[in-house]
């Protein structure tokens, strides 16, 4: 893997050069919230942002996405207009290692058994530039899943701030294309940086409150019924916050919008397994009738089903759900209860 560096004071000029060629989506501050947004000025980019309120999955899997346009031709037929192009090339900058891993967790869902054109095109046309963490938040626990705060898996290019330089790791072929298209990375003299990167990794990892998931999957493999599910489900409001702020959650609904005059569109939008009607079927039967079934399903998915299906963790330890759950349902405490056989 090629490695290079950019001097710290050359970073923003390089980002500006990128922005001049591609839409650049980066972490900004809006109304006190940290969010990934398309920037018009690179000076809006905030580098030490902790964690964004919403995960970057929206770039590949938008909250609401038009699938095709529908036009009534006459009473017997409709015309469907599928978009020729879903997106232009774009650059996503500043993604921390947990979120990078989450993109990899989403990939098999949308690109293997049921290739999804919309996701695939966005994925193919997005250059992902990762950014190592300089600190851990009290809610971070990426290390529980073998992810380190400086891991580059999931990025095309990965940056780590070390002293007066940014180490640049060119992880993928797409990353090579980007450094060729936007020069600025110096490819030499990175040997000392690698040792410094190790030190940074250890320093930030040490700030993380340890969470031990050994044995969790095994307990879940062996037990579908556990008293802890009712205990935690009681606290749950049944809203969609955890699923929507989660970088790996990917359930969606498909609906039609009818303009009323014979024109409309089919769209897909995020859906949440925590909603009471999520599994309600035509006819009224609901196989997950109470919060207990729904809460159990969600955590089984994060801690077991995603691993079963794709051999990838369903949770990346970003901690957003812990921060935002209105009733403080904490997956780390659930993990601890599972291990304790509660």
């Amino acid at each position: 893997m090629r490695k290079g560096y950019i001097l710290k004071d050359k970073l923003f000029p390089w980002l500006e050069a990128i922005r001049a060629k591609y839409p650049l989506i980066a972490p900004v501050q809006e109304d006190g919230l940290s969010l990934f947004k398309e920037v018009e000025k690179v000076s809006d980019i905030v580098l030490d942002y902790g964690i964004t309120r919403m995960p970057p999955k929206d770039l590949f899997f938008p909250q609401t996405e038009k699938m095709f346009r529908i036009k009534n031709k006459n009473n017997m037929a409709v015309e469907l207009e599928t978009p020729e192009k879903i997106t232009d090339e774009q650059v996503l900058f500043g993604v921390h290692s947990c979120d990078l891993k989450s993109i990899l967790a989403l990939d098999p869902v949308f690109t293997t058994r049921f290739p999804d054109r919309y996701y695939q095109e966005r994925r193919d046309k997005t250059y992902v530039i990762g950014l190592s963490c300089q600190k851990a938040l009290p809610t971070c626990f990426c290390t529980a899943y073998g992810i380190t705060p400086t891991a580059y898996e999931g990025a095309d290019l990965h940056l780590t701030e070390l002293g007066d330089k940014y180490l640049v790791e060119v992880v993928t072929e797409r990353g090579e294309r980007l450094v060729a298209a936007v020069p600025g990375v110096v490819f030499e003299g990175t040997e000392s940086l690698e040792a410094e990167k190790e030190k940074l990794t250890a320093k930030v990892a040490a700030e993380i409150k340890p969470v031990d998931i050994t044995g969790v999957k095994e307990v879940l493999d062996a037990n579908f019924e556990l008293p802890l599910w009712e205990k935690w489900a009681q606290k749950c409001l049944g809203c969609g916050i955890c699923t929507y702020v989660c970088p790996t959650c990917h359930c969606f609904d498909i609906n039609d919008f009818n303009r009323g005059d014979g024109v409309g569109e089919r769209f897909r939008c995020w859906d949440s397994c925590m909603f009471s009607d999520f599994t309600r079927m035509a006819g009224g039967h609901n196989p997950r009738p109470s919060k207990k079934e729904r809460v159990r399903n969600r955590f089984m998915h994060k801690l077991k089903y995603h691993l079963d299906r794709y051999n990838l963790v369903g949770c990346v330890g970003c901690g957003r759900c812990v921060q935002r759950c209105p009733e403080n349902i904490d997956i780390r405490a659930i993990i601890s209860d599972i291990k304790g056989g509660v």
């Binding site: 109304d31 006190g32 919230l33 309120r53 919403m54 909250q63 609401t64 009290p138 809610t139 205990k231 009681q234 606290k235 409001l237 049944g238 809203c239 969609g240 916050i241 929507y244 702020v245 609904d253 609906n255 919008f257 769209f267 939008c269 995020w270 859906d271 949440s272 909603f275 009471s276 009607d277 919060k291 812990v322 935002r324 209105p326 009733e327 403080n328 349902i329 904490d330 780390r332 405490a333």
Partner: protein
């Protein structure tokens, strides 16, 4: 000590089988966070705490037990007690099935405000009031917080520091000492049409349609919510500005006259939308038009929009 009073009250309720279980607060992920805790056996009572950060409104959880005809104990502050009134008046849960454990409250600390100036990342151990300060003991050290500077915004305008209904009150009644002048609403009312439009467009653009505001609200107690309807699809599921605006307006109208202004909707919003301001605008207008009190404050006050007086204003005639 409030924590001890809570534990002994709850223990005795459980021992005497006066309730099937009690909903209170337990320790959460950090010193500034509490977690709703459901206690059905005396051995579990030791999980209950009191915390200066005990913000969650616990009343609505009774809706998970609608047809069971059981008795549920709930710990409530002044704002939460109005939710109890709401649920009883809407005939959602009978008064006699509630055992209301009232806690007089001068204000709850806002963990986001506190976290900007203090380290709340340790675990909560205990707290003590020291004059104007609250000293919070955490596993990472003690924090001395000047109470009045760090309250939830809603607490500065609280007119019911003492719960308006209770079966037992764990402390001395606190006479109301703050006034609600609806400054937050008035500030927005004073903007121009353009400015108002821009402000709310910016807020509703952020909405991710998680429905946390609806789910936490005790006035949102319909068996079948209009927003869950697919046939007819009153408000589409797409999260765009128009649909989001429709959701928020319709929800505000559906709870109009019944919202008790507990403030939970704004607290739970993950995107920081001031949801409660819409409800408060309607409450302010209703107070001006119909000379009523905040719904839920007076259990004797009937449904504001469900009653008619011959001297009601008739601007629409």
């Amino acid at each position: 000590m409030l924590k001890e009073k809570i534990k002994s009250t709850v223990s005795s309720l459980l021992e005497n089988k006066q309730v099937d279980f009690v909903i209170g607060y337990g320790a959460g992920s950090d010193a500034g966070t509490v977690r709703p805790t459901f206690v059905k056996a005396v051995e579990e009572v030791q999980e209950l705490i009191w915390s200066p950060f005990a913000v969650n409104n616990l009343a609505k959880y009774v809706m998970d037990h609608l047809y069971e005809n059981i008795k549920i104990g709930v710990i409530v502050k002044g704002c939460d007690s109005r939710s109890v009134v709401r649920l009883v008046q809407d005939k959602v849960f009978p008064r006699e099935n509630f055992y209301v454990i009232g806690v007089p409250c001068k204000g709850i600390l806002d963990k986001n405000k506190v976290a900007r100036d203090f380290d709340l990342s340790g675990e909560f151990v205990d707290f003590v009031e020291q004059g104007d300060n609250v000293v919070v003991k955490t596993t990472k050290g003690d924090i001395t917080i000047p109470r009045e500077k760090y309250l939830m915004d809603k607490c500065y305008r609280c007119e019911t520091p003492t719960p308006v209904v209770y079966d037992v009150l764990l402390g001395e009644e606190i006479a109301p000492f703050r006034r609600d002048n609806y400054e937050d609403v008035k500030n927005l009312e004073s903007l121009s049409v353009e400015e108002k439009s821009k402000y709310w467009d910016k807020q509703f653009e952020k909405c991710i349609r998680c429905y946390a505001c609806r789910n936490v609200c005790s006035a949102c107690n319909c068996r079948d919510c209009v927003f869950d309807m697919a046939e007819p699809n009153w408000v589409g599921k797409a999260a765009n500005l128009s649909e989001n605006t429709a959701f928020h307006l319709i929800r505000a109208w559906h709870v109009a006259g019944r919202c008790v202004d507990c403030g939970e909707c704004s607290r739970v919003c993950p995107m920081g939308i001031p949801v409660n301001t819409l409800n408060r605008k309607l409450i302010k207008d209703m107070k001006e038009l119909f000379s009523v009190e905040t719904p839920g404050k007076n259990p004797e006050q009937g449904a504001v929009l469900g009653s008619f007086r011959t001297d009601d204003p008739e601007e629409f005639m």
